[in-house]
């Protein structure tokens, strides 16, 4: 069975999980019934506990689906605390459905899989030893990878049915009103966790900072919360964000950033009221700086900036160059602080941000998206999930979702060390080439042939050489040489959903 990006899919698993192959980036106008959680009625007086062990024992049973958010990123203590208790309780056959996984919980999850505590995982991504473990066949059932918008869709339509959500917060009152803005382990927007708070059957908040009732602003509300548990610490503040954002001095990154800026400024979308999303990498931050200057020079203001937010973006808000910041996740402390000091900085949940199955997600209003790539192939398909050795070491994040912008730019060096970024076939297709418009490398740009309008707009720009993507691929291969193909076993270790829930690719066990 092949899908529309020419990927062979495992027929048995497609049938077993009732999946359809990926067809198109068009979502259409399906009508469906959203799910709603069961509610155990309470006045709220008995929610508070100082014993996580007691609450875990009371809530988690064999075969359940439990979830976590990843807003603490590498500073997360919650998954470790909760999983330790669950493993020690001898619980079996859990599905874990976190919004994503960082390296902070790899050891305990590997232990949980080996002991049969966890038998299924769905996530945006995984890295390090857990990615290696899964890629080498450590799990019996395939991991399901979903984008942030795809996860929101799967929760709303009931494909992910969360029995217990364990959500860490830097503050909460004893009834469960909480936000991500104050306290020790602050991370700003609770965007991904808001889905779990709204749809999980039982919601357990963990906090190291119990504040007087009622706590405002309440991103998570007492009406959604079953238990509030006091713990010693929910996260390591030093590992949550990247600290002060450092401006790159790498000439290659600066060259790419400058070219990305040229592409934006010379596109038909660069006009008053435009909108954009950038990432958090070195080049993306540099783009924000060049874009600022271009906006000042041309007296153009943006209506909104979307997605994962960094301080350079909130600086634009302070300067009045951006009208609103629509924030699903913060990458540094500066951005997190901006959310409670500036009313124009709005917290949004993952559904509002990127869910294809609602009454309008913000990504569909987006003009310009700047995204990264581990690999991009000559069909413009992008891989952000597996390394060139075939091992899982990435995350979809909002990649598939934001790629629906009117102008989607992939900014990436032509080669990294001895690995080509522009390749004949990506290792894993995550985002389909149909949603990618321009590739920017340090050598020049390539425009998706489907975008004749952009071919026209960018011709004759000084300092912005245009190649076909095949030419860039050959250039890369000339530098690094021709790699030997990766060897896989037949077994499928992961399935990659497109944002609409069809399957865009699978990942095989590496030899």
């Amino acid at each position: 069975m092949k899908n529309n990006v020419q990927r062979e899919l495992p027929e048995d698993l497609m049938k077993q999980y009732n999946y359809q192959p990926y067809e198109s980036t068009e979502i259409g106008e399906p009508v469906y019934q959203k799910v709603a959680p069961k509610v155990k009625v309470s006045t709220g007086d008995d929610k508070y506990s100082e014993s996580l062990a007691e609450i875990v024992k009371k809530t988690v049973k064999d075969g359940m689906t439990i979830s976590f958010h990843h807003h603490f990123r590498n500073g997360d203590y919650v998954v470790n605390k909760v999983m330790r208790l669950i493993i020690d309780n001898g619980i079996k056959d859990l599905t874990i459905a976190p919004s994503s996984l960082t390296g902070a919980m790899n050891d305990i999850l590997i232990e949980a899989i080996q002991k049969g505590t966890v038998t299924n995982i769905t996530s945006s991504g995984m890295r390090g030893s857990l990615g290696e473990f899964v890629s080498h066949g450590g799990m019996e059932n395939p991991v399901i990878f979903r984008s942030h918008g795809g996860r929101a869709r799967a929760i709303e339509e009931g494909s992910i049915k969360i029995d217990v959500a364990f959500l860490g917060v830097p503050n909460a009152d004893k009834l469960g009103n909480a936000n991500g803005m104050y306290g020790k382990a602050v991370f700003g927007s609770l965007g991904y966790a808001l889905m779990d708070a709204q749809y999980a059957q039982q919601v357990v908040l963990l906090t190291d900072n119990v504040v007087p009732y009622p706590n405002t602003p309440a991103s998570i509300k007492q009406t959604q919360v079953d238990y509030v548990v006091k713990v010693d610490a929910v996260g390591d503040p030093d590992k949550i964000g990247s600290g002060a954002t450092r401006f790159t001095k790498d000439p290659k990154e600066l060259k790419i950033a400058q070219s990305v800026n040229e592409v934006i400024v010379n596109s038909p979308y660069f006009k008053d009221g435009f909108s954009f999303q950038t990432g958090s990498g070195g080049a993306a931050l540099a783009v924000t700086r060049y874009l600022r200057q271009a906006m000042l020079d041309n007296q153009i203001k943006a209506s909104f900036a979307l997605g994962g937010i960094t301080k350079p973006t909130t600086d634009l808000l302070e300067e009045g160059l951006v009208g609103r910041v629509m924030d699903v996740q913060d990458f540094d402390k500066g951005a997190a602080e901006s959310m409670h000091s500036n009313q124009m900085h709005q917290e949004i949940d993952a559904s509002w941000y990127a869910d294809p199955y609602n009454k309008g997600a913000m990504v569909d209003q987006l003009d310009v998206a700047i995204l990264s790539a581990l690999e991009i192939d000559t069909h413009f398909n992008v891989n952000v999930m597996s390394g060139s050795d075939g091992v899982i070491r990435g995350a979809i994040g909002g990649h598939q979702d934001a790629a629906n912008a009117k102008l989607t730019i992939i900014s990436s060096p032509l080669t990294r060390g001895r690995l080509a970024t522009v390749v004949p076939e990506v290792t894993t297709v995550v985002t389909p080439g149909d949603s990618i418009d321009v590739l920017v490398t340090e050598y020049g740009i390539a425009i998706n042939p489907a975008r004749k309008d952009l071919q026209e707009a960018f011709k004759d720009l000084p300092g912005l050489p245009i190649y076909t993507i095949e030419e860039l691929q050959k250039k890369a291969e000339k530098i690094v040489g021709t790699p030997a193909p990766i060897e896989y076993n037949d077994r499928t270790v992961a399935l990659i959903e497109y944002r609409d829930g069809t399957i865009i690719d699978s990942i095989k066990e590496v030899k």
Binding site: D389, G417, R418, I479, G481, P483, A484, E487
Partner: protein, 97 residues
């Protein structure tokens, strides 16, 4: 030619390769450590072997720690380590270049 002493060339910086060359008696034995071994391991070994052959080195133990070096870098580091191991670092073998 005969390897006189164990020599080392190159660094562990990214895009470099560090090669240690010492006496051997079982052909050219290469112990390669590389993040791109699956994709370029055979190619890296071929460049090292080829370059050593130009020095008429038939037996040697090679320990290479690769950090994503391109072929030109691998060749340059192999030349350097061979010159050092052969004790001819002050007499470059121009024909190999």
């Amino acid at each position: 030619m005969e390897i006189k002493n164990t020599a080392i060339a190159g660094t562990l910086e990214s895009s470099d390769i560090q090669i240690m060359l010492s006496q051997g008696n079982n052909g050219i034995e290469i112990e390669l450590e590389s993040e791109v071994k699956a994709k370029f391991g055979a190619q890296i070994n071929a460049v090292i072997t080829e370059t050593l052959k130009q020095y008429e080195i038939e037996n040697a133990k090679v320990k290479a720690v690769d950090k994503g070096a391109l072929d030109c870098v691998i060749k340059a580091r192999t030349i350097t380590v061979a010159q050092r191991a052969l004790g001819i670092a002050d007499q470059p073998a121009w024909e190999v270049f």
